[in-house]
Amino acid sequence: MTEQAIVSDPPSVGPVKHEDLSLLQEVALRTPGDPNLEMCIQCGTCGGSCPSASAMDHTPRAIFAMLRAGMREDVMKSNTPWMCVACYYCTVRCPQEIHITDVMYTLKNMSLEANTGHNGTASDFSKTFISLVETYGRSFEIGLAGFQNVRHFITRLPSITPMAVGMLTKKGMSLFPPKRIKGMDQLKKILKRAKELEAE
């Protein structure tokens, strides 16, 4: 079937250690607006709707059950948030109006902070993207794809080449980085302050 991009360790065996029952609340508070996370009745609509569920080690619903059980480590190691494509099917169908996709973004953030070393491919992509935006103020698709594939999918390079050529010739995409925006300093100041605020 479909290959798993990164498979995390299997969930911890043995009894659940109820050490972290504030975990659910923590995730809810970090998400802008009120995501209604405590309202989950475990119906499974989200897991049923997710187009990439088969690539996730835990379905979204299972992740919420784990949050409720305080299983911090397992959630942080899970590849689930990184497999989320942000299609919002889960969010609009959830009968309890939980902002599932927004919670997934929060979990991505938290998993990077937890720095478990899992999910390298996904987070690398995001990190590379961001470093380009923080340099130029715009994204740089060819460069980004280039870095990502060299770093993680080097064996694919031969099969990608025809497409890459097509992108450069037919689509007219540029091999060169984009022109820096004028307000780059301004943007840098904003982002710096934002990072300080996030850490508070």
């Binding site: 479909t2 290959e3 991009a5 970090r30 998400t31 802008p32 607006g33 009120d34 187009p51 990439s52 690539a55 948030p81 990184w82 497999m83 494509v85 942000a86 299609c87 919002y88 099917y89 969010t91 609009v92 973004y105 929060t106 991505k108 953030n109 990077l112 491919t121 996904a122 992509f125 995001s126 990190k127 993207f129 961001i130 935006v133 103020g137 715009r138 994204s139 794809a145 990502q148 990608i160 497409m163 097509g166 992108m167 037919k170 689509k171 995409m173 984009p178 925006i181 004028k182 307000g183 301004q186 943007l187 100041k189 904003i190 982002l191 302050r193 934002a194 990072k195 605020l197 996030e198």
Partner: protein
């Protein structure tokens, strides 16, 4: 002429040049004046949100602040890329709804001397503006070369109908706006079951196998219904389905050839514009054969659909009354 503060998004200038070209070609005759936001920055797509929420929203909000500064009376920000549209609309929504969050983001913006008052700008997608502001009647007027005989699958993608914070689109799963617009151009719109299914987004770079599967589902469904082309409105969707179609074919050992076009390209053709000015030729899966089919005006009516719907058997439930029509009995009672 209606003014719109235009937010192009990074893809318009790289992978989606066809969208940009065709968009400009059709907006002018329809009276849409695009005032590009000066010095806009990347919206961060789905990447920045994955890393750090506050900087991510601040990155988006800088554009909103700039737009507000440059508004000069114009209230609407127009985006054609679905992810950009969702990001702008989401940032505005949460800054407005969660006051503490709004203050935090404005705090960050202040470090750059900027400020945004949430709720001050209206953020809309190009399809929404075409359907609800310009209107199908006006579009029909401009059609000089109806796309008769062209079977299209209308693919709206996921981020425009969902989560739709301001309830602009008719339905979260089977909306009719793009269908009706393409019908107004004279095309034959198939009943595409996956109109809002996800194309995989950035999964091509993270989990290619998953991405190829999502792409395959869409292409094979369009093919099942014998569409000549799949019509999209998001640069990411178009790129995934077009540029990666070859790789997908390789992975699954299939040989689909489904051209993926932007709806503005078809609008341009219908309006009589030359294909070269609309970005035709830039697609990796060539649309040449499909367009050749309608290059000559076909006097015959459209060919029969592959699935014959015989009137035998049990009756189907009637089509649902469209959004906007209420129960009159209860409405009168509550007045």
């Amino acid at each position: 002429m209606s003014d719109y503060l235009f937010y192009p998004g990074c893809s318009m200038e790289s992978s989606a040049k066809a969208y940009e070209a065709s968009m400009e070609a059709v907006c002018k005759p329809l009276g849409i004046n695009l005032k590009e936001i000066e010095d806009w920055n990347c919206c961060g797509a789905t990447e920045y949100l994955s890393l750090d929420l506050t900087p991510a929203y601040s990155l988006i909000a800088r554009n909103l602040a700039l737009a507000q500064e440059q508004a000069n009376g114009t209230k609407t920000v127009l985006a054609a890329c679905s992810a950009c549209y969702l990001n702008l609309s989401k940032a505005d929504h949460y800054m407005h709804e969660d006051k503490a969050f709004g203050r935090k983001i404005n705090s960050a913006l202040a470090a750059g001397g900027l400020h945004y008052d949430p709720g001050q700008l209206v953020i809309r997608h190009l399809l929404d503006v075409m359907f609800n502001e310009v209107g199908l009647d006006k579009i029909k007027e401009k059609v000089v070369k109806p796309l008769t005989g062209l079977r299209v699958a209308s693919y709206i993608g996921c981020m425009v109908p969902r989560p739709d914070y301001n309830a602009r689109i008719s339905d979260t799963e089977y909306p009719y706006e793009l269908d009706d617009l393409l019908k107004a151009l004279g095309a034959e719109v198939i009943d595409f079951p996956l109109k809002t299914a996800c194309c995989g987004g950035h999964m091509t770079q993270i989990g290619p196998a998953t991405a190829f599967e999502l792409i395959r589902r869409l292409i094979s469904a369009a093919d099942q219904y014998k569409a000549d082309a799949l019509v999209a409105l998001c640069p990411m969707c178009q790129m995934n389905l077009d540029a990666f179609q070859g790789q997908m074919n390789g992975y699954f050992h299939t040989s689909y050839h489904m051209p993926i076009l932007f709806f503005t390209q078809l609008m341009g053709i219908a309006f009589g514009e030359k294909p070269e000015n609309l970005g035709f030729g830039s697609e990796l899966v060539s649309a040449h054969a499909a367009m050749k089919r309608i290059g000559i005006q076909t006097p015959e009516p459209a060919p029969a659909k592959p699935v014959a719907k015989k009137p035998s058997g049990l009756p189907m439930p009637p089509p649902r009354v469209r959004v906007g029509q209420q129960n009159t009995a209860n409405e009168e009672a509550s007045e």
